[in-house]
Subunit: 369 residues, 2 copies
DNA sequence: GTGAAAGCGCTAACAG
DNA sequence: CTGTTAGCGCTTTCAC
């Protein structure tokens, strides 16, 4: 027999399959001697319990799922980066830092609670089935905004706990879902205000993400609000939209400088990835940051404090997103009927060198609504 | 009924359960009209196939597993980093960049082949059960070196395909496993030779990882070999051993400068994380890199080209590790009896600024043995 | 403390 | 093209 089952172990140990099962599920209910006999048999036979059978019989898998969109599709500049030769490899690697953080946060939190993590990015094309596949084999699933259609989500959420990450909760069909989002608006507002008020800058350019990125749009609204507040002209659209990647950030600089009549005093990127990509490009073009032009990002990914100048940004607790997802998921596993919960995670401004602030470790929380 | 099954859908659609199953498994074998009826029923009922039942019945899950050690235990400096306030958060985040890359590589490769990825870090304490848990619900599992005992691995590998990542294959009990490793020795040898021959440096300090890190030890042997080759004294041990983390790299600098009679001309870190952590600390102490002291790393994680000075390092294809894992796993799923395969992935030297080279994009492959 | 038996939800021949 | 019939390997009452 290739893969031993409970039956094999039971035979070998001279007990019933129920006892074998008990040894693994609640060892205390089995006499020590019997238990040892079973364990020995299992070892010599090379028995590994089937998670599937276990899951089927007990209607619980001990695994949580995470689905996120295959962001590769966003990077419209991928071929062009060939010009850098080997270095281009990195762009692909950099690309998913955000979801990586969420993955990591979920993985850790899940582990602490004794759960595994099943991750799957939806492939552009048939996003639906991927999520359903995952949903079919976990106790609960977290879905990053933009991963799957509302309809699909609605169906899935009827079967198991679903938490929506970083997505707007405006859709009434998804009202019964738990949500976790981040104070994007507040963060960008505060950062923009910082540039305007503290640094006295008035000509700011915002480099946004794709229009279908809820986070990016919320950040832009924060940018607008700061202008409104300061009595400046309110830009109707981001000056440029780019792919949220390092390479698109680099390219945005060229576009920005070529397009605008006069150079902005600051460029605010919708995320750190782009800002980080822009920094060397500015340097390359002989523009000094922050002396000639200030730069800000959003997210506070780990590279941001390592680049030079260190990046001023808004820290969002990416790993916390994952942790909250686990938290909400397990709470709902325990009580399917609890009222839907929506958590808004706070962000904080991190002033480093790229905005013109000297201090590097300053870190002040905001009062996100 | 809370969670609809094939039976419910079959009833609702007026067909048999077999037909429902077919609609999902091979839709072409069902008449279009019937298929639509089933799909409609599924939608209104909120049907999501049970992955467990599916896996049980078909003895295949469509999921691959990845287990890795919970590296957090290695970072002996974690509390101390509090001194930096908020910035300390990052160390935890930085910590798993290596396994993150492997995860990402596996996830991508798995996705391309239509598989999901179940990840789980073993918790220090009961590493055994974690791997078994994963093993029980996947079609094949990749295990990062040091995750689990040989005995446990042996048992698991009797049940399903197992590939060992980054681990030495000296253990005869694991001879039947597929392996993927990286040319650590060759890489460190070449890099050390570069410092000695091209830069004329002779007083080099190696900052190693924990003794139980196979990668770190192999790199140190490469470091030794270069000394041998050049006729220099061969150090018996790394000058310092540290935790492979950013913070331990930072602390290593202090220890290094305090311990040694004279400052080394170069410090070679067993990985990039440590080197990246050391850079700001050197800057802080008024030492200029590379003018006063050269610095090298190993891995070429994405931050390495972004820090200033950009880090000279040995690029190892971390994502490729994951891709090869998927490749070998699926090959073995297809043919359980194929001969064990062992792949040695090549590394390449990336000369940037931190060693004293001007060029930033040079990238030359080595002839790893 | 342990065994017997009935599923969990689905797939996979095999008929028709 | 569709229905019938066995399980897949384990958990779980309910008896003993």
């Amino acid at each position: 027999m290739s893969t031993p089952t409970v039956y094999d172990v039971a035979n070998h140990a001279g007990v019933s399959i129920a006892t074998v099962s008990r040894v693994y599920r609640n060892p205390d209910t089995v006499r020590a001697e019997t238990r040892d006999r079973v364990l020995a048999a299992a070892r010599t036979l090379g028995y590994v319990p089937s998670g599937n059978a276990r899951g089927l019989a007990s209607r619980a898998t001990g695994v949580l799922g995470l689905c996120f969109p295959d962001n590769l599709q966003y990077d419209e500049h991928r071929e062009e980066t060939q010009e850098l030769g080997h270095e281009a490899h990195h762009d692909e690697a950099d690309l998913m830092i955000y979801s990586d953080e969420v993955i990591r946060g979920m993985e850790r939190a899940a582990r602490e609670r004794g759960y595994g993590l099943l991750i799957a990015a939806t492939v552009a094309g048939d996003p639906a089935s991927t999520v359903a596949d995952v949903a079919g084999r976990v106790d609960g699933v977290a879905v990053l905004a933009g991963t799957v259609s509302t309809a699909e989500l609605e169906v899935i959420s009827r079967r198991l706990p679903v938490v929506m990450l970083a997505g707007p909760r405006e859709n009434p069909a998804l009202d019964h879902l738990d949500h976790v989002e981040v104070a994007n608006f507040d963060g960008q507002l505060a950062m923009t205000r910082h540039l305007i008020v503290d640094h006295g800058l008035t000509k700011l350019a915002f480099v946004g993400g794709p229009p279908n990125s809820p986070d990016g749009e919320a950040r832009f609204r924060g940018f607008q609000a700061a202008h409104l507040e300061a009595g400046l002209d309110i830009p109707a659209e981001p000056r440029i939209r780019a792919g949220l990647t390092t390479s698109s950030g680099r390219h945005a600089i060229g576009e920005l400088l070529a397009t605008l009549p006069e150079r902005p005093q600051a460029v605010m990127f919708a995320n750190d990835q782009m800002a980080v990509g822009a920094l060397p490009e500015l340097e390359h073009r002989g523009l000094r940051v922050p002396a000639d032009i200030a730069v800000t990002g959003f997210d506070d990914i780990s590279v941001s404090r390592l680049v030079r100048p260190a990046l001023t940004t808004v820290r969002q607790p990416m790993q916390e997103l994952g942790r909250h997802a686990v938290d909400l998921l397990l709470a709902r596993v325990a009580d399917r009927d609890r009222a839907p919960v929506s958590r808004l995670l706070q962000v904080s401004m991190v002033r480093r060198a790229s905005c013109g602030c000297r201090v590097s470790h300053d870190h002040q929380p905001l009062n996100g609504s």
